[in-house]
Amino acid sequence: MSTRIFGSGIRRREDPRLITGTATYTDDLTLPRMVHAAMLRSPHAHARITSIDTSNAAAAAGVVAVYTHADTVGALQPTPCAWLLPDSDLKVATYHGLAKDVVRYVGDLVAVLVAEDRYAAEDALELIEVDYEPLPAVIDPEQAAKDGAPQLHDEIPRNQAFHWTVAGGDIDAAFEQAEVVVSDRIIQQRLIPNAMETRAALASYTTATGELTLWNTTQNPHIVRFLMSGVCGLGEDKIRVVAPEVGGGFGSKLAVYPADFVTVFCSMRLGRPVKWTETRSENYQATTHGRDHVQQVELAAKKDGTITGLRCTVYAGMGAYLSTAAPGIPTILHGLMLSGPYTLPAVKEDVYGTYTNGTPVDAYRGAGRPEATFMLERMMDLLAAELEMDPVDVRKKNLIPKFDDGHEVITTLSYDSGDYPAALDKVLAHADYAGLRATQAKGPINGTYLGLGLANYVEMCGLGPSQVAGAIGFQGGLWESAIVRFHPSGKVHVFIGASPHGQGEETTFAQIVSSELGVDPNDVKVFHGDTDMTPMGWGTYGSRTTAVGGAALALTARKIRDKAKVIAAHLLEAAVEDMDYEDGKFFVKGAPDQHKTITDIALMANVAWNMPEGVEAGLEASTFYDPPNFTFPFGTHLAVVEVEAETGVVTLTRYIALDDCGPQINPVIVEGQVHGGVVQGIGQALWEEAVYDEGGQLVTGSMLDYALPRADMLPDIEVLSTVTPSPHHPIGVKGVGEAGTIGSTVAVYNAVIDALRPLGVTSIRMPLTPERVWQAIQQAKG
């Protein structure tokens, strides 16, 4: 077996079960004596509960139990926030599993009902009588911060969850001395993540033993166990959390939710397995949303296009409560990325996290970095327009030159490696940028305008050193762990703490082991997502599973290799220092014909008939890998659009995405990640928005109104890459899960504005629906 398996687009190991309908997702599970939970959610955005009467519901056919807040007192601690942002005056509102007295968003949990089947549960749910006294509601994060706005939490003035600042350089001087200043007000609208599998939990508590097994659609089963332990009062030793097949997450299965805790509570009360599966309507109301920023941004520059400072104020909507990772998203993952791939001499950003009567907001693919990239790349285009320069030239003026091992930016981050100019040049050449501009210069054809939109980006991924996690208030570690176990036959089991949910790491992890040790990837089985079986892991988010978990795995494989080399030396009666290893073979230097394969070693290590002195039996190793730094993938995206002025219809005609995630373990999987990421970013630019009405009702409450990208709305994505290894990473990889999303929203946005420049349009609120575009054209006409 050749090491060339690294970098090979082999078929995915997980697919046979997925394409035959034999994979098991949480809702596919059934247990003996299992009952079904249905959740009663608030129809009001903000209201006081004046009374709840569950008696009719409790008496209905098939109903096993009905619980409200009062039942959970003492048994269920409030839902925790796990990113306690320091130096930000953070105020965490109490988030009860079942609402106490006041509901604060449409979808806030009011009661849970358990019945013998879900139809009966839904019937009885209608019999719970709740009287509400409506209270005024606020949805806009900037409005929520104003005096006189409705107050969500008595103890938190002006709804301010936190005020966080990043500053570097002399920002005042930058603006005082600026030769040109451009600014914009940008709305990063609320998005609904829409993992195709809605959230689900199956809790099975055994009263006799006090043990709980929870099957849960989650990106991080170990974090679920950790938080569940605190909230439900069970020792971690008594809790097993299993993430079975997970149907996508995109950040929305990072949080641990009230409904998860409540489902467990029901099972503990009843001593029966309780299953709860979200309907899509519930998912829209109660599973975390993404983005929701109001950004005021200004950029100072010289007349030659050199940027000198970036100053911004962001109001970030948190929704009604702080979800698990929420405070870190618009701050650490956003504000620290404001330099992007550019040399930025001075920066100042104030981020106000505000409570609003919306669904809690948390990570959504890219999580903070798309919002930062958008600001910066929007400013680049505005600056180019102001200076009548080509957007490419302004960017080239400011790009950080190629670096191989560390580059510190004004926000204090130290990027690992990058060659941003090369990425940009490769995209421009591939697209025939000059040719496209020449076509554009000929003017509109039949009222259809051509536009080009660029975005360069850098993202911080592979979160992150645990010491940094502590410093930034993340209430956990950010290392990953892996165990590799060879069986006597040479087959391998990998146990990994990371918990992929559709990305294909069962395959890429097998490829890592295969490449390091020369076994057939088909002989490597990867176990993940079961806290009883796998070592601790901190979850899949921030494009960290391969970057951090993969590093843990590679280092573990190398430990195995080192041990195997000792055993091989013993078997070949040679000194260890005289041994060589290549392509799965251990041999005495210069004598590759006389070799031992890892399979030979695995047999000997396991039978242990003839081991070197002092070497333990078995061929197994484990590693806890704590990365020395983040990784910093980067790329350049170019969107080409046609805008029909008569209707405002935008057609994306080409999309070129260059992403540099370092060496690609499986380029087919990398390309797939880019496709999906790009399309989610396009979705934000053109179609997607969670819309609330003035009373706080979510009016895009179903897939009838929330427009997700579909096959017939998209062109093929032209995927390019460069390869810049991370110098600090064992195998150089940087992570790719979010890459596509980070550049694509602003690339498409820039393209549409570029198309409409001849008409005088400079800004349109996203998503760029036909009406919004058409209205902007009408307004520009005057």
Binding site: V699, L704, D705, L708, P770, W774
Partner: protein
């Protein structure tokens, strides 16, 4: 989602369906179910009983007699879209049917269910209005015909009585020199029409002898664009005459246009002439 309880009766014949309707006040007819079942799942409707007419062969199929095309109420959108008879005789209907929902929806949704539901954003009512279709309705064993103009009364409201069953749709077959088209601007999520325009134009000796134009999505009930039709009749078709006629549509729209978060009434009003123009252009091209 989980529908509320209801009783279920499967009709073996049209007559039996009629009897069941009489016996079960408040019962709803179930054909393909693609309008009704989503409402049931959301519990937005709670009928005591459903009467399944989905297997009545007598309500299926497309036939042509005396210049009229008769389409059984249970004919699916997919069958409409694929029908060579329709493509030849009322092409706008086939074209519109092929734009409804998605393939799986078109395989189950029926023309009868569609017209009975009378959603203002639906495609078929617009075409049926333009083509002067009639809706055949049976009650107590006797069939009567209701012109589309009278059938669609309001948003999701029709002239159907409690015991009426839509049995067929009848459409005059296109004559020589007649061109038809249906154009819609779709909602990206629901795929419903934000604005839909159906046009049927007859060219006689190079001039437009008759023109029929109907609009959907804009107003609570599909409506004819009389001003456009008048502006076109007798004209020689050209880019300018079509554009001028299409512009006249504003006179047909009234004050109360539908508006929602995706497309305001203002935008729909502005798009109406654009959509009409495109439908007319295609229809004229096909007529020639």
């Amino acid at each position: 989602m989980y529908a509320p309880e209801f009783a279920y009766y499967r009709a073996g014949s049209l007559a039996e369906a009629g009897q069941l309707l009489q016996q079960h006040p408040g019962a709803k007819l179930l054909a393909g179910g693609h309008s009704l079942i989503p409402l049931l799942k959301l519990r937005l409707t709670t009928p005591p009983a459903l009467i399944d007419i989905g297997r009545l062969d007598e309500l299926k199929g497309i036939s042509v007699t005396d210049g009229r095309v008769r389409i059984g109420a249970l004919t699916t959108h997919a069958e409409l879209a694929a029908s060579s008879e329709l493509a030849a005789r009322c092409p706008a209907l086939a074209e519109a049917a092929g734009l409804i929902g998605d393939p799986a929806v078109r395989n189950r949704g029926t023309i009868g269910g569609n017209v009975a539901h009378a959603d203002p954003a639906s495609d078929l009512p617009t075409v049926l209005r333009a083509l002067d279709a009639t809706i055949a309705v049976t009650v107590d064993g006797s069939e009567r015909s209701i012109p589309a103009a009278d059938f669609f009364e309001g948003m999701m409201e029709t002239a159907l009585g409690d015991h009426d069953i839509v049995t067929a749709i009848e459409v005059p077959a296109a004559s020589a020199g007649q061109g038809q088209a249906y154009i819609k601007f779709s909602h990206p999520a629901s795929r419903y029409a934000v604005v839909g325009a159906a046009a049927s134009v007859t060219l006689t000796g190079g001039t437009i002898s008759t023109a029929a134009v109907a609009l959907g999505g804009l107003v609570p009930v599909a409506t004819r664009a009389d001003s456009v039709e008048q502006a076109l009749t007798g004209q020689t078709p050209s880019v300018d005459t079509i554009a001028a006629a299409a512009a006249a549509v504003s006179a047909d729209l009234g004050d109360d246009l539908i508006g929602d978060i995706y497309a305001s009434a203002e935008y729909r009003r502005a798009m109406a002439p654009v959509c009409v123009k495109r439908a007319l252009t295609a229809a004229v091209e096909r007529a020639g």
